[in-house]
């Protein structure tokens, strides 16, 4: 294989795998937006929160990972319950922008709380995913990215099975479809919201482990989640598979841009490149690739 081509494929695959990681964060957003129409900015903080608890428990108290991760999942369920009780219930039926701002409040409260307990120093989070480089021909891949990609795929499959095959999944889909109709047939919205936030919390735990294992657990991790936002837009706020596909596109596009476009116009463009892709696409199709068509009535 010629050198340029194998380098191209290497960059492409690396980008795709990085994109899977963005999808992991975006998934949590989509779940909550679908079920409650809330644009949950705190998802990024939930990822950091989960990662800080796992890494903190492991390093300060020597709790093994097989125990720390379930404890954190239980904790996230508790967080979901508190959020529903304290924040969502009093604010029900408020305008979307108010709900959005309240999730920014949750964002700061969660980060502050995690820092009060664990401090803001950087911790490593090594759950045993191999970090070795793998050579295929003369192409170089990181085994970590491959494992992370596999985890993302498993998670998405699990969510799909949950949504399609279980009773709770059907309830969630009903609520996503029409709040009032779902309530009319006897679905309790408050329970559903706790469940949805808990699932988003579970997704955050997975994302936190995968991200934290790669980059270390530190407060800057939240910024990485800003990259999940364009993924979300490009895929459409209401589409789970949209989040995955958009993650792949953005990951690959970003890697390509950094390698081929970066040297021409100066480095560091990966901060905004994804946003520009998303923005350009949205002007063409405002609801994203797979989002529900926005119908406006008077």
């Amino acid at each position: 294989m010629p050198m340029e081509l194998s380098f191209f494929i290497e960059v492409l695959i690396g980008g795709l795998l990085a994109g899977m990681m963005y999808s992991l964060v975006a998934l949590g957003f989509v779940l909550i937006f679908k079920a409650s129409g809330i644009f949950n900015f705190a998802q990024a903080a939930m990822v950091l929160f989960a990662a800080m608890f796992i890494a903190g428990m492991n390093q300060r108290y020597g709790v093994p990972f097989w125990l720390a991760i379930p404890i954190t999942i239980v904790l996230m369920v508790g967080v979901a319950w508190i959020i529903e009780r304290v924040v969502l219930r009093p604010l029900v039926n408020q305008e979307p922008i108010i709900m959005f701002m309240s999730t920014i409040g949750i964002f700061f409260a969660l980060i502050g709380f995690a820092e009060i307990i664990w401090g803001s120093r950087s911790r490593s989070l090594d759950v045993g995913i191999p970090q070795d480089p793998i050579f295929v021909g003369d192409m170089l891949f990181q085994s970590y990215d491959l494992v992370a990609g596999a985890i993302a795929i498993v998670l998405v499959l699990m969510l799909a099975v949950f949504a399609q095959r279980t009773r709770m999944g059907r309830v969630l889909r009903a609520v996503a479809d029409d709040h009032q109709a779902a309530q009319a047939v006897g679905i309790r919205l408050s329970t559903v919201w706790v469940v949805v936030w808990a699932i988003a919390g579970f997704v955050a735990v997975v994302a936190g482990v995968v991200w934290g294992g790669n980059l270390g657990v530190q407060p800057v991790m939240v910024d990485v989640a800003f990259k999940a936002l364009p993924v979300l837009l490009l895929g459409g706020l209401t589409s789970i598979h949209g989040a995955i596909i958009a993650g792949l596109i953005i990951g690959a596009g970003e890697a390509m841009a950094e390698v081929y476009l970066g040297p021409i116009i100066g480095g560091g463009i990966d901060n905004w490149f994804a946003y520009v892709i998303a923005m350009a696409f949205m002007v063409y199709r405002p609801e994203g690739m797979f989002g529900e068509k926005i119908i406006e009535r008077i």
């Binding site: 009093p90 408020q94 959005f100 701002m101 502050g112 800003f226 008077i298």
Partner: protein, 352 residues
């Protein structure tokens, strides 16, 4: 008994349409302005630097964003980017054209920010709501990246450049008191202009678009010019706030100083203060400036043995919780509490 409009008869249309129709309000505002002018001579330079200047400058930014979010209904998270554009435009104009008077440069910087705002406002014609909010993040990240390119920072190796000293008609703005008075003058001009603008035909068009854009379009309001006008005016004011922030508060320019958290802070002020209220912009700015300072001083004042790191964590936590608390107590912001209080005062001592 003090606050009552009975006996104040309007004899002209102009009096009827006055910005503050009730005499007590006029007197109150005049008092506030007098106190605002007197206050820098009564407090220490530290208070001016740490409290009053950020409050004034953030108020300008909040007024700018309130026009876009509160009056026209277009959520923007790109405020920091537009502030940076204003600041860097002013620096480059002054550095590259030495004979340019600073005031002209500041206004031009505002206009450049307005142009940038219009450019990034174009997607608003197709994209609405949260989708728009996230696309404005494109402006935030792209502009900050762009302003770190060597040309914009005068090839300074660190990316940090110091602001030129400003001299307006022989008045050298140097001491904290000077800076405060200059900022105060800008705030008063901008607040009056904004207040009158939102009462005009333009402002009513913005509100129509905000309340229901399709309906507004049907009654003959053209969405494109209206939305773009909101982006232009908002970005102009936000750009001016950026100029003030760099020249009066920081004294230096650094693109990183206008990061995404600046945008969030300004959005907080608008929402906590009250969407669609100029007064609310001031109240929100006061809240966001004062709360962290209180949170910072209270633990040491009551003798809690906490490290500075711990205090900053608790500060983040309480700040987030307070936002949630205020949204729950009054989703329409502090300005709404203010108007409720005024209404009660009007009827006092009767309940209704």
């Amino acid at each position: 008994m003090l606050y009552r409009e009975s006996g104040q008869f309007k004899t002209t249309y102009a009096a009827d349409q006055a910005m503050l129709p009730i005499r007590q309000d006029q007197i109150f505002l005049a008092l506030v302005i007098l106190v605002a002018i007197a206050i820098p001579f009564l407090v220490s330079n530290y208070v001016i630097q740490a409290l009053l200047l950020p409050f004034l400058i953030y108020s300008v930014a909040a007024i700018g964003l309130n026009i876009l979010v509160g009056y026209c209904g277009q959520i923007s998270l790109g405020t920091g980017g537009f502030m940076a554009v204003g600041a860097f435009a002013a620096w480059n104009l002054l550095a590259r054209i030495p004979e340019m008077p600073p005031l002209v440069a500041f206004v031009l910087a505002g206009l450049i920010a307005a142009g940038t705002g219009v450019l990034f406002g174009l997607p608003a014609l197709r994209i609405k709501g949260f989708y728009l909010a996230v696309t404005t993040l494109a402006a935030q990240f792209f502009l900050i990246w762009l302003l770190q390119r060597p040309w914009f920072v005068g090839y300074s190796p660190t990316g940090v450049i110091s602001a030129q000293t400003i001299e307006i008609l022989g008045w050298r703005i140097d001491t904290p008191v000077d800076r405060y008075l200059f900022a105060l003058a800008v705030v008063i001009i901008i607040a009056l202009a904004a207040k009158n603008l939102v009462r005009s035909a333009t402002g009513r068009k913005w509100m129509a678009i905000r309340d229901m854009d399709v309906a507004a379009e049907i009654i003959g309001i053209r969405p494109m010019p209206t939305k773009l006008k909101a982006f232009a005016v908002s970005s102009f004011i936000v750009g001016i706030a950026g100029v003030l922030w760099a020249y009066l508060y920081l004294g230096q320019l650094e693109a990183e100083a206008f990061d995404i958290y600046t945008s969030f802070d300004v959005l907080f002020m608008v929402i906590i203060g009250g969407l669609g209220s100029i007064l609310g912009s001031f109240l929100g700015a006061a809240f966001v400036v004062i709360v962290p300072i209180i949170l910072n001083t209270v633990p040491s004042a009551i003798g809690l043995p906490l490290g500075t790191a711990m205090i900053s964590y608790i500060e983040i936590f309480i700040f987030g919780s307070l936002i949630i608390f205020f949204l729950i107590v009054e989703p329409h912001g502090l300005a709404r509490l203010w108007s409720i209080a005024k209404q009660k005062l009007r009827l006092w001592p009767f309940p209704y």
